[in-house]
Symmetry: C2
Subunit: 358 residues, 2 copies
Amino acid sequence: MTRVNPGGTIGILGGGQLGRMLALAAANLGYRCHIYCPEENSPAFQVADQTTVASYTNEEALTDFARAVDVATYEFENVPAQTADIVSKNTLLRPGARALMVSQDRLVEKEFLADSGVKTAPYQAFHSAAELKEAFKSIGRPSVAKTRRFGYDGKGQQLVKSSKDLDKVLSVTNSTPAILEGFVNFDREISVIVARSASGDVAAYPVSENVHTNHILDITTVPAKVSDMVEAKAKVIAAKVANALEYVGVMTVEMFVSDAKGQIIVNEIAPRVHNSGHWTMDGATTSQFEQHIRAICDLPLGATNARGIIRMKNLLGDDILDNEQYLADPKASFHHYGKSDPRPGRKMGHVTWVDADD
Amino acid sequence: MTRVNPGGTIGILGGGQLGRMLALAAANLGYRCHIYCPEENSPAFQVADQTTVASYTNEEALTDFARAVDVATYEFENVPAQTADIVSKNTLLRPGARALMVSQDRLVEKEFLADSGVKTAPYQAFHSAAELKEAFKSIGRPSVAKTRRFGYDGKGQQLVKSSKDLDKVLSVTNSTPAILEGFVNFDREISVIVARSASGDVAAYPVSENVHTNHILDITTVPAKVSDMVEAKAKVIAAKVANALEYVGVMTVEMFVSDAKGQIIVNEIAPRVHNSGHWTMDGATTSQFEQHIRAICDLPLGATNARGIIRMKNLLGDDILDNEQYLADPKASFHHYGKSDPRPGRKMGHVTWVDADD
């Protein structure tokens, strides 16, 4: 329940665009930020009060970092358990290690969600070709094989349409632990950005509807084109997950929606601010970044209402150079992450339209 | 007309809250900021990529600073002419030295405004007791004596109700050059935040109505309670001033309004973002800080429309500690400037309500 008042120092593990936008939001509330990241010239360094360049296994650097801040948080879910452990021994770590443990491993995540009474796709773990064959028999086709750890943006995944695809699976999972998931037929992908403060208050944003291209988020629209019942149910699920984790901060629950049945299947959870919540910077009273800072500092949570019909588009790679059209559009808000190298597919910025339909 | 694209570096002279909010806005557009300020631990340093601590007369430090940035700007109008000169010899300085020259000296400012066809209070310069007496005879009473240079928040001013007050004037002006201004009867104080880009595009925000307490801005409300004609006239005046100065950046024109006559008198101009424009951070699509960055980098100017009925309140001194009420108010956006010492009267933060009347 410890509160960290404005003027305090927030430590952030990770120096990418999420850490950068967290730091900007924290500064607006009067906090100083200390960014810890192994890569020099990380985007978040440009806006931070203090920076540490060191590996996530450097115990001394982590200890010094943790002792120099009033509360620590992270911008990515693959923070090693050992890193979280060192930090949490020396300062408040919010969200805590449990959220990392659950979200880092698809099997643990599925089991946690099932225990919380939340519906997911059917799944079965496998470690070998024999186990995969058995899982395929039980889950059926089509199905999707996914490595248990370190998958993102579609990496470490293989669609299985027939038994012929099973060999491909093993080359993708590379004999690391994996699960086979039943393929879910859905009409739309949605996500709920939900905050839970150190005091246990919970606030969800309006549901985001997401369209991916090449497994990377392309467009988010708010409100999502779902029924009021689905909107309400999705928020309840997100709150349930946050409460079950005794989560502190902003987290994201990704879901698949089947319109006809009004059915929601939870796909995965991310213990952090999320690309599908970027619209909140311009489209909500409180951005997801400020909300995360409020939650981990145990300030009151801010208002989550949307300012209208909103569309957010990711700018990948060279898209960022073609910014004149966004800067000249009176309804658009343009964001650039300060990265100098626009590699193909790299998240370089985003643009948000408020009252997109006017 | 040189454009500075996102990814470039912006130099800011001055490290207070205005520099800090400029740096935060610049970062959002992908620029790196280099803050130059004589005071260590300046608030803007906490969010800057690069910092220089040196005096405004340090030619070597100024030259290095100017050469390290793509465009330089400033957060305060009392940048010494020599400083501006050194910087502008080594990089783009926007706004340019003329805006400083005009706004630093009340006499030059009045003469410039008169030449631009803009109405001001009657005024007369004086250098001595004899000249003051003569000015008093011509301007009449009540009148206000003001030092020509370095006045702000009511400093260097003396109300003259009768000839008995003339002695007080000389102790306040301390025998520096000054002017005696006719006292203007007005119903309200307003200001217009106006941007002019390097390409010559001009965009004004809705008129701000300002209430001062102890000569320091307390509350700004938007829209101002003025007629449509006064609103339109005020914007025209601001644009006229910006164009006459061939100004580049955001500037502020303070005015007095007499409701019955629909008369507008220009009080003074500030060649910078302004406290009475802080509402634009939450209440407009483009904040005055982002607008200034757009203007000096020659990007298209952003939309200036207000999001509703808006109220901004300054938090001075200890006000900043009493922040729970603002953080817990769903219509309020709270801003803290990261200053650690809440001296009485010091600007520590502000709070903005959008749709304040709902």
